[in-house]
């Protein structure tokens, strides 16, 4: 097997222009790095290191990692839908209210009406889809800006929530729903000793190993196929390093979780959603069309993209994801409340923009939005661990959001003047 020469890699990695000293790009020991697309991951790593130091390692304790995931799962789920909308050049301000109204609907069905929870869940998801369809219709087919439609939706669905709930919480939820929102996988295979780390759940560890194997296998197959088509790929050493880093990350996460209470169900759900939506965004015609619309709407029209239908369906999708988040949020609190989901839309939007979405649309990644959400989650969590008052947390989050978007605009402007 002939390995790809480093020269090939350089051609592939240099990307456009080929002009020396391209802005937003640094060279580290021969590895060219695109700051604009990878800056977010570097920033995430730095923030984790920072708070690990500030909290004397409390940030990365098993229970705390579990908390970060469970407490922010619904925001991350919303961020997945939001990034698609933002890539297409739209916005959704209503998701917080949709979370509330779908949570309330689930509560009414499950608690008040005694509908079996799987059926109730399904009905709730369909309701979320209908809400998305309602907004998508006005935006895509009627031509009202998404900002306005979803601002109206924010009020409408909050009003609907209050009407349904009559200004009081409904609960408690069935155990299964609570488990999904707040629970962990069972220790089906018992514990194993990990030496000084103590006992850990074998099942969780196995899931982690399977995940690592799956990741390596999929990446390897992609790499082989690319080579088969004559594309430039990372040299074997770099590939191995990347895989090792990814494996170490997953392993660390899983071991810590296995030492605490096993895998949170929402993590399993979240992982599945991230995987599915990343593939959808990158590899499907539909996903490509979302990027095309955001990148240049008129060019997309002239290329035969059914713009209206694509925009409609990403709002339907947002509705469904909001409904999932709504059920999980209500299940976690074990009650559907009238103020549920307040300002969730802002967190989801911030996650998308911190995660590298472009203000004008056309740019963004699902993984980026998740990372953006996690950055905010770690800041929240880390600052509360060191006892910062909430106003300071808010201040820092605001500054981070502004800095992230300013960085994006700045790199773009540099690229523009260099042209």
């Amino acid at each position: 097997m002939s390995s790809i020469t480093p020269a090939d890699v350089e051609v592939g990695a240099k990307g456009g222009g080929g002009a020396p000293g391209r802005p937003g790009r640094v060279s580290l020991g021969g590895l060219s790095l695109n700051l604009r697309s990878s800056g977010i991951y570097i920033a995430f790593a730095l923030i984790i290191v920072l708070f690990s130091v500030l909290t004397d390692g409390a940030l990365l304790q098993p229970q705390n990692i579990s908390n970060i995931i469970v407490q922010n799962s619904y925001i991350l789920i919303l961020a997945i839908g939001m990034i698609l909308i933002i890539i297409a050049g739209h916005i959704d301000l209503s998701v917080g209210s949709v979370v509330a109204v779908t949570g309330a609907l689930a509560a009414v069905l499950m608690v008040n009406m005694g509908v079996p929870w799987p059926a109730a869940l399904l009905i709730t998801l369909v309701a979320g889809a209908l809400i998305g369809a309602w907004q998508g219709y006005w935006i895509a087919y009627f031509g009202i800006p998404a900002f306005i439609v979803t601002l109206a939706g924010m009020l409408l669905f909050r009003a609907l929530t209050l009407t349904v709930l009559g200004n009081q919480g409904i609960g408690p939820f069935p155990d299964q729903v609570r488990t999904l929102a707040n629970g962990f996988t069972d220790g089906w295979l018992g514990n194993v000793g990990l030496g000084p780390l103590g006992g850990a759940d074998l099942f969780s560890l196995l899931v982690g190993i399977v995940a690592i194997a799956g990741m390596v296998l999929a990446q390897w197959r992609t790499r082989s196929a690319r080579k088969g088509y004559g594309q430039a790929v990372d040299p074997l050493v770099l590939f191995a390093l990347k895989m090792a880093a990814g494996a170490a990350l997953i392993l660390f996460l899983v071991v810590q979780l296995a030492r605490f209470k096993n895998l949170p169900w929402v993590l399993v759900l979240l992982a599945a959603l991230v995987l599915a939506y990343s593939l959808m965004a990158n590899r499907t015609v539909f996903g490509r069309q979302i990027y095309a619309i955001g990148g240049n709407l008129q060019a997309a029209v002239m290329s035969g993209v059914k713009v209206k239908s694509v925009v409609f369906w990403i709002f339907v999708n947002m509705g469904v994801l909001s409904a999932i988040a709504g059920v999980i949020f209500a299940g976690r609190l074990n009650q559907a409340g009238p103020t549920a989901g307040n300002s969730f839309e802002l967190d989801a939007i911030a996650a998308a923009f911190i995660g590298g979405a472009a203000v004008q649309g056309g740019v963004g990644k699902v993984v980026g939005a998740i990372t953006g959400g996690l950055i905010m989650a770690v800041i929240n969590n880390g600052m509360s661990l060191i006892g910062s008052p909430s106003e300071r947390v808010m201040l820092v989050k605001g500054a981070v959001l502004l800095a992230a978007v300013a960085f994006d605009v700045w790199t773009k402007r540099r690229a523009g003047t260099a042209r």
């Binding site: 592939g12 990307g15 456009g16 594309q231 015609v285 490509r288 002239m302 056309g362």
Partner: protein, 509 residues
Amino acid sequence: MTEHILRMSGITKTFPGVKALQDVNLAVRRGEIHAICGENGAGKSTLMKVLSGVYPHGQYEGEITFEGRRCEFGGIRDSERAGIVIIHQELALCPQLSIAENIYLGNERATRGVIDWNRTNYEAGELLKRVGLRENPTTTVADIGVGKQQLVEIAKALSKEVRLLILDEPTAALNDEDSAHLLDLLRGLRDEGITCVIISHKLNEVTAIADSVTILRDGRTIETLDMAADSVTEDRIISGMVGRALDNRFPPRTPAIGEEAFRIEDWTVYSPSQPGRKVVDGASLTLRRGEIVGLAGLMGAGRTELAMSVFGRTYGVHISGRIFKNGEPIEIRTVQDAIRHGVAYATEDRKRYGLNLIDDIKRNISAAWLKGLSRRGWVNEYEEYRVAQQFRASMNIKAPGVDSVVGKLSGGNQQKVVLSKWILTEPDVLILDEPTRGIDVGAKYEIYMIINRLAEQGKAVLVISSELPELLGLCDRIYTLSEGRVTGEVPREEATQERLMYLMTKGQE
């Protein structure tokens, strides 16, 4: 009388890679109507932008003398203060404001920051009388027609105590009656002592109204003629505009023309912004396999509008007419229909309509043909990459790789990406709108080779171009379009620039 109100001498304006103006001289006598003529891209608008300060002093070379003083305008405000007002082809009025508000926009009749509405409306009314517009100054601009809006622009210019009025294609969007009124008004202003510079493609208007004419070609001054002394005719102007030798800038080709491939009949399109205005009027075209057909027309003739309305109704309203492919009637209601029927349209404005500039080459090439590169909704990225590599080689797209971002490529390479994108859809009919606009000479030759190759493969190609030599060098047959109507169909052997220009400027009877 030979006193000159304006002298521009040695004006040179360079854009990255292109010399738009080269040592241009313009001398305008006080109190005359001075026309500027030239093909699209000859540099007329650039020259006027230099004059009005859109391109401020320092961004061009050369000297401007106005009213005997050397001028170094830093912006439009400077030139307006000197008394030079330019009225652009696209009117710069706020449609939701009233006539009076528009006239005094940025120049409000105010005392200590508070607008005196009585004075505003009264003085606006006086100006409207001067330009012969019978409308209430409080009428919203959106409620009056384009012709009247043009008059409001002139009233606005008069409010600034204009001494040199520049009009860029003032009658392009007007009907005959409004045009006649406008020309009368200009004569009246001349009698009041206001000097006018008018850019126009309508040579009959130029000969009717102008006192002298300056002809530009390829960014250079060709000549300035005194209409009366030199007894200038339309033909005289045309020969000045096109007088350029054809060199062998075109690759050789032996046409092999086959059956009829595509035909449109009685195609009529109305403007979406100006109700009732026909942008394309009863046009009929036939394209045959292996044939390169040209479509010539001046700006505003409706070339792009015709092409886009055929291509999935992406322009215009109330479109009527019939389309035949291989003799069979077909319906093209959407871009998807057009692609399915093997019709491709490569836009004249590739940055706006043709490319996703922030995405890479391969994804731009695949953008119109994702269905063909996917199975059950999943894009075969490897195949996409392979196809893109193929086009990069066959079209000679100069880029480090197909992962390169399209926005960073040169114009010629961007155009090759656009062409690749449409060739990938395996079309039988290609409409190429200004395929060499903004491209350097070497890349043009390559684009011509590509076009020839497409024709050799038996595809029918329609080339829309403002450059007559390009059409003469490339096409087997050339249609001319004027004011939305097909005014001629000239085979290659009989086509000359003069004949085409005559047909392109032929007004409606």
